[in-house]
Structures are given as C-alpha cells and as structure tokens.
C-alpha cells in the first residue's frame, strides 16, 4: 500500500531519538532539549505525509503496514489508519514538539531522561493509535503508561508518588481486565478462524456468543472508561494532573485521555456489538453525570490545574455520549471534540505552566488582575478559554454541537438506537454549555480580572517569544478548527458511516438464539452463517446443546460398562 512506511516510521523516529539521546553525555541539557525538539518536529513533518497518502473518500484502513511479528502467537506488527485515527495521530505529533518547545526549559533535573521519556511516550501513543493488531495495541497501551508514570513520579510536584501510583494502579486494573478479555477473544476466535491471530480485521469477522460479548465488552469498557475518564472512575485524573509537570499534563489531557474514546470506537464496539448494546445505557448515563458533575466540581476548585482537570471530565463526557448515540454526527462530533479538546485543554495547561513558572503557585487566590500585566497572554488565553467553552467559530463548538445534536437524533438514517431516552439525555448534557461557562469564566476572572493587588504579580513579564511560539500555533489551530471543520469532518465521514452500518448489520444479523451460544465467523457482508462454521464450532442451538449433553451422558454410560468387569474382578479379589 502506498505510504505504508509512514506509520512505522513515525513510531520508530521517536524511539530512535530516545535511544540516541540516552547515548549523549548526561550534562548537556540544551543538547538534549535540542534533540527532543528536532526529533518531534521531524516526526510531525513526516506525519504530515499521512495527509498526502490518505484518501478521504475511502472507508477502509489505509497506509496499512503488516509484517509478522511473533509467529507462534499469530501476532503481527500491523499498522494503519482510518478516519478515526488520522487526525488523532496528527494531533499527537503536533502537540509533542509544541509541548517540548514550551515546557522543556522548566525541567532542570535529569533532562536527558526526561526527553527520552517523552519520546518513548510519543512512540507508545502513536503506536496505540495506529495499531491494527490487538496484541500490538496492548503492548503500546502499556508502553505509554510507563513513561507517564515516570513523568509524574520523577518530575512531578509534592504528592507525586501518591499521584503516580494512583494513576498506574487505576490504569493497570483496567488493562488487566482488558487483557483477560483479549485472551478470551484470542482463544475463541482462534478456534473458529482455523488459526490463532490477533489481527483486528480478522477478529472483527468473529461474532462471539452473546453473553461472552457482554462480559468482554465490560472488561474492555472498564479499561477505556478509566482512561476517558468516566464518572466515577475519574479521581486519578485531578491528582495526576496536579502533580504532573506541565508537559505531562498537556500530553495526558491532550492525547492520552483520547484513548478511552478511541478504544471504544476501534475495539470495544466493533468487537462486541451486543456488549455495546447492553452497556450503552450505562455509559450514556455516566457520561451525562460526568458532564454535569465535572463542571460542578470544577467550579469548587481553588487550584487552577484541578479546575482544568475536572473540565476534562466534563468535556470527555460529551465525547462518550456522542459515540453511544451512534449517529454520524454523534460519532464524528465526538472525534472532533477530542481533537478540539486536545488543542484547548493543551493550551489551558500550557497557560497554567506559564503562570506557574512565574509565580510557583497554582492557587487561584494568588492571582488576579493579570490582564494589566500580561495583556497578550490574557488575550490568547481568553481565546483558548472560549474555545473550550464552545463558543461558535472556535473549535470547541463544532464537536459539542454535533455530539449533542447526534444524541438528540439517535436513530437517524436507520442507525440503531442503543441508549434510552436520547432526547432527555441530550437535553441534560446540553446544560454543560451553561456550567462550562460558569467555571471557565470564574477561572478567567479570578486570574485576569480584578485589581492587581498581589505584590508578586506586579512584576510578571508578558509572554516571551518562545511562549508566543507555542500559543500562536495553538490559537490558530483553534480558529481553523472552528471555522473550517470540513476537511476534518470529510475525512471522518466515510469511516463513521462504515462504523455505524457495520455495527447495525452485526447487531441485526448476529442476533437471536442462533447467536447466543457459539462463536462464529461472519461472511464478507457481515452476516452470520445460519449453520455453525467448522466442526469445532460447538452446538449452537438449544436442541444441539441437548444433543451434546445426551452424548456426554451416553459416553459416561459406555465408560461404566467398559470398566464394569474390572471393577467386579477387583471386588471378587477382596478377602
């Protein structure tokens, strides 16, 4: 496939960079920063090649690169992108150099290791976004966990140990459940596919038994819901954000949270449509709770970083609601909202970094009146805040609007409705529009408005050239995404349509009693065969199950018969 080299290349580049940076002398901090920036910038430029090769009209995986990796497991190193992952990849490669450029200077201990960690993190995230193999995905999923653990644990704030351990245990708990489900899928699919594989495309052809789907989906969903994070699995997030260095926060909120939603779209929902159907109401309700709850709790914060962290809970709630609404604009809007959230929340955290570097506090009460002192920063920050609050013509609006509209219109164009009372959930979620304005403007006012009455704030310099270099691309991105969302949405549209139609087909076709008992392979149209496929496929109907049981009973009788003489002989032989 043309351009297939791009994806492995952008995973490989940061990895090589990480190795290279570790080979340089430890004391050369500026060299390390330079390498980090160069590598991530090159990665970004290379990743732009994706746009050249990506055909926005196709709904299949593109730029697919596939080599055998662990033959004995059937694991492949298989990468590829579609409309869901295309811009998420670009978001990652875009944010990385910006983050390093803007924040690397605030790290002054173990710079070499910091750069290496960030580069490995980038490789892991990109790998997880482009993986088309369940095994590869799981490996990448764990690969990105560890650098983030180190970022928080080594370069973090006061309570960094608590936060990093909490982060790791939360995430690991989820990923272990996912691993169990992966094993199950792997074994079941292997038995009907005639060979063990972790290739996502092949696994998607397998329809698992109904109840297995429900449990497997739940296992995947817990892993992803922790990442999103859905209420009530969110409490690791504020701690992690508060303790993480700015770079960690930006990447955590900007990119890593997206894996939750992305995981649902790429793995959980296509593999287990019936599971999705069963759990969608729960997810929808939790998302709505998260939207409202996150916004309410954000308002009660005194710590700016916590406030923004809780705002992520609220914003990602929209995304989660959008995907279970299962409408084209719900899902498209959800992916779009993730992209926008990457820019706006990334920007919010970078701004907090700017403040923190100058004042070494994150308490709202310590600020006030900064507009007078830092007008350029205030103006740019206002745009980011408004983008986050969903002001039309800025990036946040498009995603928010489409997800809400999608929720309202659940069932449009024949898409299945898997959430209850979509209108009411949609209306409740829409209150997030009000609540978002409440806490964001509260924060903005506390920091920038009012009298400049704290002596320390009186000397704060406005943005430096370097910082402008970080914020201006972000703000331009926010404007572009708000005013010209079409290129983004166009690229998603075919994928979204395919996703929904496949989901609908699988849910409709592979339903009923025929599907409650056995694992089977679907044909090319996504239909389940009427008869079980392959000899190994166990009995699939109630009658057949009964046959099975009868056979077992008969077998037992036969065994008894066969051993009876011996038993008698043994008895006879006793004194």
């Amino acid at each position: 496939m043309p351009g297939a080299f791009v994806l492995p290349l952008i995973i490989g580049l940061p990895l090589l960079g990480a190795i290279f940076v570790m080979c340089t002398p430890k004391t050369e901090s500026s060299l390390h920063r330079g390498i980090g920036l160069t590598v991530t910038t090159i990665t970004f430029l290379v990743s732009l090649l994706v746009l050249r090769y990506f055909n926005a009209k196709l709904d299949t995986y593109q730029l697919v690169f596939d080599v055998e990796w662990i033959p004995v497991l059937g694991a492949h190193f298989k990468t590829g992108i579609d409309g869901f992952s295309l811009y998420l990849v670009l978001l990652t490669t875009f944010l990385m150099p910006l983050t390093l450029f803007g924040t690397a200077r605030s790290i002054d201990k173990n710079v070499r290791e910091f750069i290496a960690t960030m580069l490995i993190l980038e490789a892991g995230m990109l790998g997880a976004f482009v993986a088309l193999d369940l095994f590869l995905f799981y490996v990448m999923w764990e690969v990105m966990l560890i650098p983030m653990y180190l970022l928080i644990g080594i370069w973090g704030g006061q309570r960094r140990l608590y936060a990093s351990i909490k982060f790791v245990i939360y995430t690991m708990a989820g990923s272990l459940l996912m691993l169990v489900a992966i094993f199950y899928v792997y074994v079941q699919a292997g038995s009907v596919l005639g060979g063990y594989t972790t290739d996502l495309e092949k696994l998607t052809q397998v329809a698992l038994p109904y109840h297995a789907q429900v449990w497997c989906f739940a296992a995947f969903a817990v892993a992803f819901a922790i990442k999103v994070p859905l209420f009530p699995l969110h409490t690791w997030l504020p701690d992690a954000h508060v303790e993480a260095p700015t770079a960690g926060s930006v990447i955590l909120a900007g990119v890593m949270l997206k894996f939750g939603i992305y995981g649902f779209l790429r793995y959980a929902m296509p593999l287990f449509p019936h599971g999705a159907e069963v759990w969608a109401p729960t997810i929808a309700v939790l998302s709505v709770i998260g939207i409202i709850y996150g916004a309410l709790v954000a308002y009660a914060q005194d710590d700016v970083k916590k406030l923004v962290a809780y705002s992520s809970v609220s914003h990602l709630g929209f995304c989660a609601l959008g995907i279970v609404a299962l409408t084209p604009y719900g899902i498209g809007g959800s992916v779009y909202a993730m992209l926008s959230h990457g820019l706006t929340t990334g920007g919010l955290f970078l701004g907090i970094g700017v403040l923190y570097e100058r004042r070494h506090t994150r308490r709202l009460a310590e600020y006030g009146g900064l507009w007078k002192q830092m007008p350029v920063f205030a103006g740019l920050y206002l745009i980011i805040v408004m983008g986050s609050a969903g002001l039309p013509a800025l990036s946040g609006f498009v995603g928010e609007f489409l997800t809400l509209l999608g929720t309202f219109d659940a069932g449009i164009d024949g898409s299945p409705v898997i959430i209850p009372v979509p209108t009411i959930l949609g209306a409740l979620a829409t209150t997030g529009v009000i609540l978002g304005a409440v806490y964001l403007l509260f924060m903005f006012q506390k920091v920038f408005f009012g009298k400049l009455d704290k002596a320390k704030n009186g000397k704060l310099p406005d943005l430096t050239g370097r910082e402008l270099g970080v914020f201006i691309p972000l703000v331009i991105g926010i404007f572009l995404m708000g005013m010209f969302p079409r290129p983004f949405l166009n690229a998603m549209d075919p994928t979204v349509k395919r996703f929904i139609s496949e989901f609908a087909t699988r849910q409709r076709e592979c339903d009923g009693p025929a599907h409650r008992y056995g694992t089977m392979v679907m044909d090319k149209d996504g239909k389940c065969p009427a008869a079980p496929a392959g000899a190994a496929a166990a009995k699939t109907t109630d009658a057949q199950i009964k046959d099975n049981l009868d056979a077992v009973a008969k077998g037992a009788a036969a065994v008894e018969k066969a051993i009876a003489p011996a038993a008698k002989a043994a008895e006879g032989g006793a004194p």
């Binding site: 007008p375 309202f408 009012g450």
Partner: protein
C-alpha cells in the same frame, strides 16, 4: 435573479458586511497596541462605515430592485449568498450563508448606522482611556458578530453571531475589569445569556430533529417543513416546544423575565457600549429572532400567548423598578428592559411589523438617551463628580449642556409616545395590535388585557423617563459639580443631534392604516416592506383559510361560518366587493375560519387579521397619547423643579413599601442569589467534598488500597526473612495443630458384619492415635471395659477386635479411649443394628 456577481474576490458582498468590522477588530486587537490613537479610530470607524455603506448599497440597490420588480415572489424576496460549507457530516449540513431580505435589511441598516454613530461618539467619550485599541477592537468585533446574527441564513450561523455578541458584551461590560463588580457584571451577563443559549440549542436540536434542516428557507417552506412538522409531532406541538425553547433563548439575549437580571448590571460598561449593545442592537436580537421565525410561532397559540405574557410582565415589572432608581444609566437600563417587553408583546400578538418598527424607533431614541446620559456623565465628571451617574446630584444641567438637553428632551418625548415623535407611532401600533387580537385558543378578551397592561406600562414609561429628565435638566443644580458641568465635544453631540432628529421623524415610515375618505391614502411603508419576510397571517398553518375558492381574478374576500363576508373584501381595483361576488368566491364547503380575516392583497389572495376600524384606531391613539401626557404631567408634578415635598411625604408614608420595592428592584437579585447562586456553590462544594473526596477517593479508592495494604502488612510480618521468626511460627503452628486436633477430629469406630463375625475398627481421630492411648471396648452396655469373650482374663483391647454376634449382649457398643498424655477418657457409643450414623456420646473426664 442571479446575484452571484455581487462579490469582491471570492467573498460575496453580504459576507463583506460583517467581515469588514471583523477585519477592523482583527487589526486593532493584534496590532492596536503599537498604533496611535488616531489610527485606531480611523481603522475602527472606517470598518463600520464601509460596512454601513455596503449595507445601504445592498438594500437600496439589488434588494429594492428585487422588491419592486417581483411582487409575485411575495414571501420569498431575498438575496442568499453562500460563502462556503461550514459543517458537514452525515446528513447534517450547515452552510456559512447569508441572506438579505426585507427584514434583515432593516436590521443591518440599524446596526451599521447606529454603530457608526456610536463609534464616532466613542472617539470623544473614550478619548482618555488607556486602552483604545481593545475598546475599538471589541466594538468592531461586536458589530461584526451582530451583523452575522442578523444576516444569517440558518440557525447555526445565527448562533455564531448570537454567542459572538454575548462574548463582546462580556468583554465590554467588564472593560474596566479592575473593578471586581464590573468583572462580575460581565460574567453574570455571559452566564445568564448561556442559560438562554442552552434553550436556544435545544430549540435548534428539536427543529433539526423534525425537519432535518436548520435553514430558514427550508424551515419556512411548507413543502418540506410542513410535512416534517406533521410527521414529527403535529404542527402545533412541535412549533410550541421549539418555539418556547427558542423564546427562552430570546429571554436571555433580550433581557426578559426571568433572565433580565444581567442587563441592569451591564451598565458597568462604558456608556457608548450601553447605547449600542444594551439598548439599540444586541438586546433586540431576541425580538428579531422571533420575527425571523414568525412562520414557526404563528403555528403555535400557546407559544404566542407565553411570549405576549412574558413581554407584558417584563414591561410592567421593569417600569416599576425604574421608578426609584437614582442612577442615570440604571433608569435607562430598566427602561430598555421594559421597552423590550413591549416588543415581545407585539411579537406575541403576531404583530411582527410593529415589533420591528418599535425595535427601530427604540434603537434611535434609546441610543440617543444613552449617549445623552454619557454626555451628561462626561460633563459631570469634568465638573469634578466622583459619582457621575447619580441623578440626585444633578439638576439644572439645561444651562450647561444645551445640546444634550434638547436631544434628551426629544428622546423623552419619543419614548413617552407623544405625537409626532417616532415612539408614538410604534407604540401605538403595538397597543392597537394587542387590542384587536383575539385568536382561538386564547382566553377571550386576553388581547384587551394585554392592551390595558401595556397602557399601564406606557404610563409608567412616561413617568419615569420624565422624572429622569426633570431631575437631570430642570430646576437648580443640586451640587457643586453640576454647576461646573459643561457641554461635550462635537464628536459626541453630533451623533446626538442626528439620532434625535431621526427619533423625531422616523415615525413617518410607519403611519397607521387609515382608510378614511377624508384623508389622503396612507400606506404603512414599513409594513409593506417587511411583510414579505414574515408570516403573512397568524395561523397560516393552523387555520387554513381559503379566501378564493375559484380562481377568480376579481379579487378576494374572506367568509365566516355563516357564509357571510367578514372584514374587507377587495376587488382587483381595490374597491369593495359585493356580498354575492364574495360568496361566489367562497363556495359552501370551503374551509371557514372563526377569526376575522380581511383581504390583505388581492393579487396573492392572502388574508390577514382584520385591522380595527378607523374609529377604533383614532380612539386608541387618543388614549395612548393621553396616557403619555398624563405620565409627563405626573412627573412634572413631583419632580418638575427637583423632588417636591409632596413626594417626600408620599415616599415616607403611604408609598413607602412600594418605594422600597422599586428601589430594591423587587429583591430579585437577592432571591436569585438565595435560590440559585448559593445553592449552586454549595452543591459544587458539597459534591467535591462528599462525593469526590470522601465516597470515591477515600472510601472506594483509598479504601480498597487500604484493605489490600492491610493484608500486605499482616503477611509481611510473617515473611520478613528472619529464620528465627519462621521457626517460631513453625513451633507455634505445630503446637496449635497438636493442641487443637483432638477436639477437632472426633474419635469414632466402624463395624462390619461378615457372616457371624462382627469386626469393630476404632478410628481414634487425630491426636489420640499415638501409642500412648489405650482403647477398651464395652459390649455389655454398662459403660465399663469388658473382657474378651474368647479370653475372659484379658480386657478387650486394641484398635480392631473380632467378635461373634452372640457376644454382644446389648446392641450398644462403646469404645473407651484413655489418653495417657492429656489424661482424658473418651467414650463413643454406637448402636450396631442401626445402619445410620453413630450416635456418639462423648464423655471426657480427668483420671
């Protein structure tokens, strides 16, 4: 007609109208800090003035041409220009498209014209402000957003403008952000508006859900939308629900009950801002939106009743609150709220033209009043006043500020509804419309109630406005500062004069319909201009009317249920139609209406609600005029030369309660604070502390970690690698096993018959199986060890004994275990004939 040539570069003219001010804003907001004050002024004013010029060209050029040349297109006159497709995914599509029709034409003229004047005025008013670039940038940004709002061809684009003006309002109210309460006011405005926007969004979602489009033309088109309405919910219920949601949005933007509370606080902004945003343009966006969606609202009786009622209540409540205010701008703010209420009553009675008419005249005289107030405050500030808006310190300013005084006087006459000033005509039209409206589904006579209420509101308006005028300009100066006040520069008085002049004559575009033969034929210019863009008749969709059954070119007329013509019937020449001709046009069986409709246009055979007769029109005008005059008279009585003694007595005595209520604005802010703001804070704080910190984090997360940790700590004590401790554990464990086992595993015995022989096998249980214990058997049932029947000299002993059946006298056999170590004797008794479990009797006793 093809309008695709109307563009400059790739961008059509209609897009340039908002784009020009936006570009001005872009320049001033990015580079402005490096530009000189003069350059900033030039850029800002040029941007708006160019936009104004382009608007005038578009309206009086292409649009007027279209209007004149194609009457057959009535209801669909307009120029739509697409810029690009903004959002598109799945079946959702929103174009960035602008539409200029006769309705939006009126709005863009108001916005750009008054906008230009206020930009000019601001150069004088803000001459000493340290941040001119920000100020003019915001002002330009606002103008651009407002133009997007009014020119939008669909609801989504309208929402860009809708929220955009909200943002500018936030920024400009909090322009002097260093004062905490100003910043609070800005935030309050934004948040309250967001409450409205929430409902606006819901309305949009609902409409899209039903119609699958948010384009005004699609929504309006009965061919597409009509079917969808019916399919979704039936026309009225959908229109009612969507209409009410959108109206709540309008309540936020246009400061109606219960969302009006932000507007009085918004007076924290610079005064020209109050004039432009919070009087002339932005706050009227809600009214505009309702008129824009008149086709939707005309399908819902309930929504209309709600709009009219809310409008009336707002008009009255705000007028009441204005009575006792002592801040110049606060009085004007409540006045604005009240006047917006009038406009909503007009909209709620289906009187679309009157709503827009009043919107226009109000924009003129209220902008003039605000700018006048700004001029007064400017003068007072120069006089040395620290509280320039306090009217109790004014008085006698007519001597010092003659131009301001004259323009203020004219505007006060206009707002009080005195002939021939503009407010007279527009207010009269609203009152007249309310008087005559009587649709099915409303409480009979509700129109009259609205009329009476509005009349009361008009009385209040005249009173508080003239109170203001007298307190500011009449009598003697009540403070030193007032004595030293002086007239403002020409950049400020110039716009005042222009606005006052327009407020005097603008009524001419909306002269009432009078058919009296004694007068020359008068046409309501504005009505015939706007009507193509609004729903022609209220209830168009709800009550189908068939004015002309036959395709008859003679004219049209409407007929009631008894087959009699109602209202006016027109022949094609404009003359009266005979009863017979009318019946012929409406054969039996044609749909009938209970409403009084009249032929509005014999070309299109459209019916309209019958307007009241000339006599009624004159009568209503006279009453309205009298009420206005009465209000002025009352104000003069109490305040003519400053506050009078009578007034002080009244305020201290019988009117004390009312006075306090008005002064404290009916305590609405306090009530909201108690029932919304504080509970909200408490809720968010409570959720954080209780749910997040305690239930989730402490109990669930750290709790499970604690439990895991506890197990860890306990097991750690054992597994610390010290051999001594392992050994100690070993010993204690072994001892425990040893000590506990004899109580745990009970001794018993088995028996087996083999022919005659009975074999007894002891199962001594753990702990007593050692060589130290001795086992005896009792086979006689006496509880004592018995001798062996085969060898009577020895006691029967050992773990396994063989007996003949006859040896056992009783069926009960007892096993007696004597443990030498623990010095216990244990007895187990079983009945041999019984196959069931042994009946065990344990007796332990120390030897």
């Amino acid at each position: 007609m093809d309008f695709s040539h109307l563009k400059a570069g790739p961008i059509p003219y209609l897009a340039w109208i908002p784009l020009l001010p936006l570009l001005g804003a872009l320049i001033n907001l990015t580079l402005g800090r490096k530009l000189s004050r003069g350059t900033i002024h030039v850029i800002a004013i040029a941007a708006v003035a160019a936009s104004c010029a382009l608007s005038i060209y578009m309206v009086f050029g292409p649009l007027r041409q279209l209007y004149v040349s194609s009457p057959e297109q009535a209801g669909n006159i307009g120029i739509t220009q697409h810029v690009y497709t903004w959002i598109e995914i799945g079946s959702f599509k929103a174009d960035l498209a602008f539409r200029l029709d006769t309705l939006s034409a009126v709005m863009i003229l108001i916005v750009t014209f008054i906008g230009t004047l206020i930009h000019i005025y601001s150069t004088g008013y803000m001459a000493h402000d340290p941040r001119p670039a920000a100020y003019f940038g915001y002002l330009n940004l606002f103008t651009g957003a407002m133009l997007i709002l009014v020119l939008a061809a669909n609801l989504v684009v309208m929402f860009i403008g809708w929220e955009g003006v909200g943002l500018c309002s936030f920024l400009l109210i909090g322009f002097w952000y260093e004062k905490e309460e100003y910043a609070n006011a800005g935030r309050k405005a934004f948040v309250v508006n967001r409450i409205g926007d929430f409902a606006f969004l819901l309305g949009m979602f609902l409409l899209f859900w039903a119609v699958k489009s948010l384009d005004f033309q699609d929504l309006k088109n009965p061919a597409t939308a009509g079917a969808a309405y019916v399919k979704a919910w039936g026309p009225e219920r959908l229109a009612t629900a969507a209409g009410i949601f959108l109206f709540i949005g309008a309540c936020g933007k246009s400061a109606q009950i219960p969302l009006y509370v932000w507007l009085p606080d918004a007076m924290a902004g610079p005064t020209p801002v109050s004039a432009l945003i919070h009087a002339a343009t932005m706050v009227t966006a809600g009214v505009y939106m309702i008129v824009r969606l008149s086709f939707l609202y005309s399908a819902s009786t309930a929504a209309m009743a709600i709009i009219a009622t809310v409008g009336l209540l707002t008009a009255l409540a705000a007028a009441f609150m204005a009575f006792a205010q002592t801040d110049l701008k606060k009085v004007l703010a409540y006045s604005t709220v009240s006047q917006l209420g009038f406009m909503f009553v007009a909209a709620g009675t289906g009187n679309w033209v009157a709503a827009i008419f009043h919107l226009g005249t109000h924009a003129l005289f209220k902008a003039c009043l605000f700018l006048g107030a700004g001029s007064v405050m400017h003068g007072m500030e120069h006089g040395g006043s620290k509280t320039p808006g306090d009217i109790t310190t004014m008085g006698g300013l007519r001597k010092h500020m003659p131009i301001t005084r004259i323009t203020f006087l004219v505007s006060c006459l206009a707002i009080a509804g005195i002939f021939p000033f503009a407010g007279f005509f527009s207010k009269d039209e609203i009152l007249g419309g309310a008087w005559s409206v009587d649709p099915p589904g409303w409480i009979p006579g509700y129109g009259k109630v609205l009329w009476a209420g509005l009349l009361l509101g008009a009385l209040g308006t005249a009173f508080y406005m003239w109170r203001l005028y007298f307190l500011v300009f009449s009598g003697d100066e009540r403070s030193e500062e007032a004595k030293h006040a002086h007239e403002s520069p020409v950049s400020m008085t110039g716009p005042l004069v222009i606005l006052a002049f327009l407020a005097t004559i603008a009524g001419a575009i909306g002269l009432p319909h009078l058919k009296s033969p004694h007068l020359p034929a008068i046409t309501h210019q504005l009505a015939s201009w706007i009507e193509p863009a609004t729903a022609q008749t209220w209830y168009e969709t709800k009550v189908p009317i068939q004015p002309a059954g036959k395709a008859n070119n003679e004219g049209c007329c409407c007929i009631d249920g008894t087959n009699n013509p109602v209202g006016t019937a027109l022949t094609k020449d404009g003359g009266d139609m005979t009863v017979g001709a009318c019946r012929e046009l409406n054969p039996p069986g044609a749909p009938r209406s209970a409403l009084k409709f009249t032929c509005a246009d014999h070309n299109t055979k459209q019916c309209a609600i019958e307007k009241q007769s000339d006599g009624t029109t004159w009568g209503l005008m006279a009453i309205a005029l009298a009420i206005g005059a009465l209000g002025i008279g009352l104000a003069w009585m109490f305040y003519g030369r400053g506050p009078t003694r009578t007034l002080e007595r009244l305020v201290a005595g019988p009117l004390a309660g009312a006075y306090e209520a008005s002064k404290n604005k009916l305590w609405v802010d306090e009530i909201y604070d108690a029932i919304i703001v504080r509970p909200y804070r408490a809720l968010s704080r409570g959720l954080l502390e209780i749910v997040d910190r305690f239930v989730i984090d402490t109990v669930a997360v750290n709790g499970s970690a604690f439990v895991v940790g506890l197990f860890g700590r306990i097991s750690r004590w054992f597994q610390n690698g010290q051999v001594q401790r392992y050994l100690t554990g070993l010993v204690i464990g072994a001892a425990l096993v040893f000590m506990m086992s004899d109580c745990k595993t009970h001794a018993t015995f088995e028996f087996e018959r083999q022919g005659d022989t009975i074999i007894l096998r002891a199962k001594p249980g753990a702990g007593v199986s050692g060589s130290t214990s001795t086992l005896y058997w009792d086979i006689t049932g006496d509880g004592e060890p018995d001798p062996d029947p085969a060898n009577p000299s020895k006691l029967l002993t050992g773990p396994e004994v063989r007996l003949r059946a006859g040896d056992i006298h009783a069926s009960r056999v007892t096993l007696i275990i004597e443990d030498a170590v623990t010095r216990k004797t244990i007895k187990i008794t079983r009945t041999l004939t019984d196959e069931s479990a042994p009946e065990e009797v344990h007796e332990g006793s120390a030897k």
